[in-house]
Amino acid sequence: MDVLAGLASGFAIAFTPTNLLYCLLGSLVGTAIGVLPGLGPPATIALLLPVTYNIAPTSAVILLAGIFYGAMYGGSTTSILLNIPGEAASVVTCLDGYQMARQGRAGAALALSAFGSFIAGTLSIVGLMVLAPPLAAFALKFGAHENAALLILGLMMAGYLAGASMTKGLIMVALGLLLGTVGLDPIMGSPRFTFGVFKLSEGFEFVLVAMGLFGIGEVLANVEQSTAADVFKTRIRGLLPSREEWRQAAAPIARGSLLGFFIGVLPGGGAIIASFMSYALEKRLSRHPERFGKGAVEGVAGPESANNAAATGSFIPLLTLGIPGNASIAMIFAALMIHGVRPGPMLLSEKPEIFWGLVASMYLGNVMLLVLNLPLIGLWVKLLQVPYRLLAPFIVVFVAVGAYSINNSIFDVGTTVVFGLVGYLLRKLGFEPAPLVLAMILGPQLEASLRRALIYSRGDFMGFLERPIAATLLACAALMLLTPLIRRVLTRKFWQIVGPVAKPE
């Protein structure tokens, strides 16, 4: 009954007024940025990282996690009402959600995605609660070899699953690892790649890089194109779905929750892939696949549940293995590191209050989000009328003041602008910056465990193959390299199943 005792202690932490406030704040901000197209969860969390420096680590994690899963709720709103995904994980929701809205069922679509998200989110927290402790206990046995192998597999998956091209994803990983080597050597402590700049001897500040790549980079990419969005004009009538719609949605919500959770646990998996796979699955299982793309309830309920379940599931590798699986989780990883808390197998035993406080706050956050999203939907629709052009200055200002506040240094603001340019160029060249950020934060760990492993086994690479766990992990990593084809087949398969539905946007 460790779980129940832990959960009870967690609720005691989450129910303090301060933490309730941060949980509510996270849910509000998350919904808002989920609704607003052009500002994603990783960018928002990066922008808010400096604010969390001054609050307790548990509260910081509660706030940032709330933003992350809150965005999954908000993202569906724009997809349904505007045919524009509020964030990437809601792309498929456009296909049927917008059609439902055009048929006068916008309210039902919004309600089903909110309820689906709530059910999926809550089920996944149960999964997180039950699976994380044994997994962490297992990971405690890992030595340098296992850690290095696990990090290699995690980074390979992040590069593999990030964008359209595996080669480009892996280039981002290698580049991120390289950025991570700037500063002090993790074993000897001697400086390298500082180019005589004293400030670089501690390495690039992760938060500055992330704020530049995600914050400034996104603004730069957005100013060159003007997007005028027309909000769906009709009033939202009949917020509650009919009994028939509930019946149709029940199974997709259950399947989406399960599928999303397990995809979320995989590094590099996450909400986007989960929602796409759920859509394909529902269409495949449906007796009337021709209804998809024309306002099928299943095509909204399934993916919206899946992306929420995946968001929650992706906390498992962070909290048990210390491996962030996507860019948003990497930001939360960074927030913990800033507070001197090392996410990983030790977290559960050394800082149980963070783990259980977070788990309990997620239960509360999902309830808050359900309340925030259903009765207040009109308010969020109003928010949509704020054009991105007005939002951009606020993002820039927040990045500037946030970057400055870390070390009270104007040089840091300049660094962030430079990384903003880098982020813009990467986007222009078709690269996805998320794997770079992941690799940068994991680089020093990978290098340290790789070098330690080689020292232990006296320079013999067989050391990796003689340890069953390390060997299995490396074999999986090698398999990933050999199968870029599978991905192409899967993508084609997805569009085959989805059929000749117009792609969103």
């Binding site: 080669t167 280039i171 194109q225 003041v401 060249l429 078709g430 790789l450 320079g459």
Partner: protein
């Protein structure tokens, strides 16, 4: 596509070569006792390899070329404005510099009306000042306003 990916591939190759050369100047150690140059040297090699793969893919898939930036001058202008902002931040102070930056973004880059631009600028500069300087106690550059 072909040009964009080819540029990306060449940039990757250059970065990989640069990393390998820079790493080779650090003590490499050996497999038994890898030194500071060991990991970055291998990364440089991996980048070279991936750059070559990407170049091969770019030359093989002669798919349709993608359009460039729709309004590239806006990106250049905004970057220039940000550079100026960083340079004058200390002298002008946070509030004034930020106010001017936001006014420029809304009035110079976008065709917003003066009243809207000025209002948003006051809210953005003032709000962030209150949040960070007053509430979080960050010593933001005060500039001439303090004197």
């Amino acid at each position: 596509m072909v040009r964009r990916d080819a540029i990306a591939a060449v940039a990757t190759l250059a970065l990989g070569a640069g990393a390998a050369v820079a790493a080779s100047k650090l003590p490499f150690g050996g497999l038994r006792n890898p030194g500071p140059g060991f990991f970055p040297w291998w990364l440089g090699l991996v980048l070279l390899l991936l750059g070559a793969v990407l170049l091969g893919q770019a030359l093989r898939n002669r798919a349709s070329a993608t359009g460039g930036a729709a309004r590239p001058w806006k990106v250049v202008l905004l970057l220039a404005a940000l550079a100026v902002y960083v340079l004058v931040l200390d002298a002008a102070g946070y509030a004034i510099a930020t106010f001017l930056l936001v006014v420029f973004m809304l009035r110079g880059l976008e065709p917003h009306r003066w009243p809207l631009a000025l209002t948003v600028a006051v809210v953005a500069a003032g709000g962030s000042y209150v949040l960070f300087a007053v509430w979080l106690g960050v010593p933001l550059p005060a500039g001439p306003l303090a004197r």
